[in-house]
Symmetry: C2
Subunit: 152 residues, 2 copies
């Protein structure tokens, strides 16, 4: 039995533990410079993100962390941006990721979003297939540019 | 003489006119469903974006529209997201785009951003070259997925 709930500040330890799992999975542990306190401040004071946790047998095994930003002045409608999604390795392939995505879709619909958006590592072929099965697409028309702070 | 200024609500008519120019240029005029009033509400009440205008001879000829969103819980630092950038066709190749980008970089630095991000149409080769000259890059590692509302 898998359940999904919306997080409050008391869930920060579970959120942080799953973020660490994601960082390891992405081979990006060095990039995880924030600590639990910083994460809590972002969530409560800055209201910079919201989060879902998926539970199996009372244990938090999946995380989705997201926020809303504006799509474009063209429509004036918001986008649900999914920053992090992760399911503990030993709890995968049981539909937990699917449940998290479905709840995110419900959120996006409830808030009147025009779309959802996220990034995925190219080598994560399981994730690419999972997203494509949901109907998600990689735009053939648009390129995503970044300018890192060392170029400022 | 080109100057750049930070916008207030009184600049909405100029912002909207340049947005219309951008929508035409991108062959996306049908997507421009917001009106001036909606745009003003987004800017003032929701504080959903900030904007720069570039002036030549007292006329607003360039626009950059942007906002800050969180990069990632990993660093807890923000990204300057550039939603729209546009320079009137007859005023191009005079450094206006460069000036707007430089002011955006100043903003990103002042706000402690870890990077800037934006999207660019693939066929807009002039823009792609311009961005690459600034040191911007298209990530070789990450894919950008979208899930549109008709798939919710």
């Amino acid at each position: 039995m898998i359940t999904v709930k919306h997080c409050t500040a008391e869930d920060i330890p579970d959120i942080y533990r799953l973020m660490k799992g994601l960082a390891e999975f992405e081979k990006m542990s060095d990039a995880l410079t924030i600590d639990e306190k910083g994460l809590e401040r972002l969530m409560t004071e800055e209201k910079a993100f919201e989060a879902l946790l998926a539970y199996e047998d009372g244990k938090a095994v999946g995380l989705a962390l997201y926020y809303f930003y504006m799509l474009s002045t063209f429509s004036g409608r918001r986008v649900l941006y999914l920053e992090d999604i992760f399911v503990d390795e030993e709890y995968r392939k049981k539909g937990t990721g699917r449940l998290l995505m479905q709840e995110l879709i419900n959120e996006a619909r409830a808030r009147g979003c025009i779309k959802m958006e996220w990034k995925c590592l190219k080598w994560n072929e399981n994730a690419v297939r999972f997203y494509e099965k949901l109907g998600a697409e990689i735009s053939p028309d648009w390129l995503t540019f970044t300018l890192k702070e060392d170029k400022f």
